[in-house]
Symmetry: D2
Subunit: 342 residues, 4 copies
Amino acid sequence: MTHKIAIIGASGYTGAELIRLIATHPNMEIAALAANSKAGQSMAQVFPHLRHLDLPDLVTWEQIDFSQIDLCFCALPHKTSQEVIRELPKTMKIVDLSADFRLRDPADYTKWYGNAHGAVEMQKEAVYGLTEFYREDIAKARLVAGTGCNAATGQFILRPLVAGAVIDLDEIILDMKCAVSGAGRSLKENLLHAELSEGYNAYAVGGTHRHQGEFDQEFSALAGRPVQVQFTPHLMPANRGILATTYVKGDPQAICATLQKAYADEPFIEVLPFGETPSTHHVRGSNFVHIGVTGDRIPGRATVVGVLDNLTKGSSGQALQNANLMLGEDETAGLMLVPCFP
Amino acid sequence: MTHKIAIIGASGYTGAELIRLIATHPNMEIAALAANSKAGQSMAQVFPHLRHLDLPDLVTWEQIDFSQIDLCFCALPHKTSQEVIRELPKTMKIVDLSADFRLRDPADYTKWYGNAHGAVEMQKEAVYGLTEFYREDIAKARLVAGTGCNAATGQFILRPLVAGAVIDLDEIILDMKCAVSGAGRSLKENLLHAELSEGYNAYAVGGTHRHQGEFDQEFSALAGRPVQVQFTPHLMPANRGILATTYVKGDPQAICATLQKAYADEPFIEVLPFGETPSTHHVRGSNFVHIGVTGDRIPGRATVVGVLDNLTKGSSGQALQNANLMLGEDETAGLMLVPCFP
Amino acid sequence: MTHKIAIIGASGYTGAELIRLIATHPNMEIAALAANSKAGQSMAQVFPHLRHLDLPDLVTWEQIDFSQIDLCFCALPHKTSQEVIRELPKTMKIVDLSADFRLRDPADYTKWYGNAHGAVEMQKEAVYGLTEFYREDIAKARLVAGTGCNAATGQFILRPLVAGAVIDLDEIILDMKCAVSGAGRSLKENLLHAELSEGYNAYAVGGTHRHQGEFDQEFSALAGRPVQVQFTPHLMPANRGILATTYVKGDPQAICATLQKAYADEPFIEVLPFGETPSTHHVRGSNFVHIGVTGDRIPGRATVVGVLDNLTKGSSGQALQNANLMLGEDETAGLMLVPCFP
Amino acid sequence: MTHKIAIIGASGYTGAELIRLIATHPNMEIAALAANSKAGQSMAQVFPHLRHLDLPDLVTWEQIDFSQIDLCFCALPHKTSQEVIRELPKTMKIVDLSADFRLRDPADYTKWYGNAHGAVEMQKEAVYGLTEFYREDIAKARLVAGTGCNAATGQFILRPLVAGAVIDLDEIILDMKCAVSGAGRSLKENLLHAELSEGYNAYAVGGTHRHQGEFDQEFSALAGRPVQVQFTPHLMPANRGILATTYVKGDPQAICATLQKAYADEPFIEVLPFGETPSTHHVRGSNFVHIGVTGDRIPGRATVVGVLDNLTKGSSGQALQNANLMLGEDETAGLMLVPCFP
């Protein structure tokens, strides 16, 4: 059976990435594409790399006949997303890629995003979309909230360690190196090639990045007590990829064994042999996560490095993985693309 | 039916690209991988981005039991390739990605490559692998010679124009901008990141690039008289992509119409509306070719720009397309991957 | 004697490049910096790489006391530049980096820039700022018009050849590869790192780029009859550098000899030995031009490749070189910086 | 007075960088350049960006008449450096850029570099070349050992904090992002553009990088007891720049004040206002260091980010700064080049 799919927010990078993935999905058909600021244009105009695909032209989301749609991806900016989603049919399956439904507590949302939430009821309904850890809930959900790309990376590394109590919960540092597509297709000076190529910098230093809210929520729930990690993102001169260097205290071998056991049956998560370290080059354009553990020369300290592609496993690939579960499809359908190297 | 595939020369970029593509092919199984210098290693060691695939370890080509193999890709350097292929079973289908069987005349081979050809009989047997123009011969061939990546790019632009007699055959300039993966995984100073990033230069200026031999052979045969193009390659700070800016004399509209007609039914070749120009960004990681025609302000002159990914359509994608024909598979199987942008 | 310098338009790349160069000039002092949209900010805020310099804060140009200023650089966008310059003191020396005074004929200006010129009298007064060819006029000028960066590159290659009548004037092709800083610090989608890195494309194909107007004006004047070149710019994934591959008809050795003779005494222009080709890597961040000539295998055709740094020799370095002449300084003062490689 | 300078190891990046800097030095003349593997070549062949300079051709170091030389820079690989330096005149001033004389204890040298030291007496004589902290000793020294580039970066951040006892000495993490030129002009697969661009990875994880030996020696000496930092380098897709994100425990404001006080009079070290963070873009090609301090949301923790250009301040700029002191020149001569941005 072919599922009819709509994408709202199709003129951004995560929208384009969804289309790239769905184009090879055996049982999905893109029935409608919306981008209100570019309604009327063809996708070939907005994203010439999609030129060969037979795609519907862009419309406004209000023009879509949702009665035909089996599942809708919403790839809008936060705040806009909640305003649109609350107007959509209440029975339609939705995967939201924005930040709007990631935080369960309206106060947390307001703390990190600055405005009061405009769809508090739906916020309660939404399931957090970190597939490997919320699989059963996602399969039954109507509304799934895609995670932050940094939040996903950090959790793949840390959730089994927090849950397994093999690390000191008060001494966790996440030094993250993030490719520029994570900032979206937005026109900002620091995202220009001339400003970014050949250099790099930290930003949102000191625990102020919004994905911190997801870490607080998830790790504290897992541990049963408040957990605060130190998280510093860095902007990299590269288009795809997040690498998280994680400094933890605990037995390195136990940490590696915990991760290997946790992900032994996961199709997308590869834990490397102890002492090896991964590279973003080797997951580019794919839905895979590579994680490597090394012990420090200082006993009782380990460095865990994890990588993924922020647009795929960190966003649109995760979203499709969740949609597969919600529609009863094979979880990996459309997602087994091999990383594009070199 | 699943075809059993061998790849000789699996430790280079074109070998890795073949594996990337075949991994999504419905009817191919990689049965053997050879790389004599790295025999004994796993593919995860040589190319960590292939880690998740269940691939055979590398062996020497002499260790392969070819009686089990339906088709063998040979991704070796030129000269080595002819030496290996002449030892392989004479009944096995072979797609060669090297330069060894591209030129039909042994004297041409020696002129451009410097050594006498070591398998002259096979040189006669080989079919030139530019799929869209040798499709029927390829389907019946035992040995197919993959084209040069620059040679493919120039021919996609120029063959219909030469055949259609819509341009001046003595006034053709091909200014080509080539990504660095075309040079392979070889350790040369000018291929280092520190030497290449953030700058660019011409090389093999004056008609000395070896792919010139293919242009001479193919365009002269098409035109029925000697044709010499001017071809200047440039090394670009990018990993994938060739862009050919072609300067020709003729009626721009007729040129565009000729190309649009020639490629109307081709699944991988997109001729843009008159006046639009393509970008390598929009074919990256895919088997597609984009071509655009613009008229110059000087009447009777046109600029035709064509782009493709040198590793895919320029090499391994073309090879798989040919293998599909040789094995009776759908020509596009494993090749409909959407370009990876951004 | 120290000359007091003002820069209007100091928040763009050419403004910053002027400051970088002047900082090492023995006899210049930056007395005022204007950028109306960022007035009130410090240069450290706008360009942190200038943080260590003791520079005046940004003001509006109207706030500058020009009676103190010996020479003013104007690094504004075209059209704005003429509107500002016509209000400045009529006795002050000015080097304009915009396009506003490059074309001597008001009709030409309107043809290429779309609007009527707002300072026609000054347009007549302005001297075209290609230093090596207008040196004496520049030394006596009050208002000098900096050339386009592409226009400079093409003219360094072609002026001696046009003047020396060693090439066919009706068969000149300039295929130019331009780094992104030439587009300035403007917020456009195609200038984003995610859109530009790792790929390239032609633009303004067919003779529509505005620098074409300078080629028409200068080459026609030199030849004493209309000359039209074919000029195609390409946007490169690099921040600094223009490489022009020039296809001409003539005797390659004579072409090389003509260029070597023309530039034998020039401090910034290096003509390579016959058969060598230059690279943008080797002029990055400097005021040097490298030119190389190669003969094609087709007799009577030559390929001339020239490179420079668009921000330095193509813009701000040229401007400083002209200012040196206007102020009676050594022409090379502040300009002998060695290229920054790697 | 003009000092006559020799450079041994002039065909590598640090050699070229020395020449770039010395070219603008008022009182230095390059009298001899050696590179044994490329003896007989001109510098224009080895580094075309130096083509315009009037430089001696490359010779072997044995061919240099050292009686003419006032100071010799030695830019050889470690181990080779000690073997050459012990053969040089014992009265000549030498600045060594290798690792051979950085560690004072022969056992430490053997531990980190694997071989017994071949010039133990000179190892004792050598002064550690971190200019800002060994200024007086350097001025009197005959042999100065340039520091590791990572070692310099980490020490600029941490020395005042260790000495001032404002941080917990057992809880220091240095997460360092290093540009590729730090690996030199060596032909390794992971340094190829196709392997490195658009991605990044950690290496030498767990405290195994050789610059760790310098941290151990220097911080332990400063603290008067053993200090071990955790240090993880990462290879970046960029040519110049090191960024160190340093996680420390202590009062953030006190940490910032300590750094600002320590560097108040230093010409090359800029401590940013509290809460600002630096970028490698803004020191590229220069001798400057930028440091920024931010407090974490977790009380008592601070993140200190420091940046420098590994080839300049991290190596050749530092070497020239030391040579200036040794020769009685102004310490900043030849070193005030403004960073090259964009």
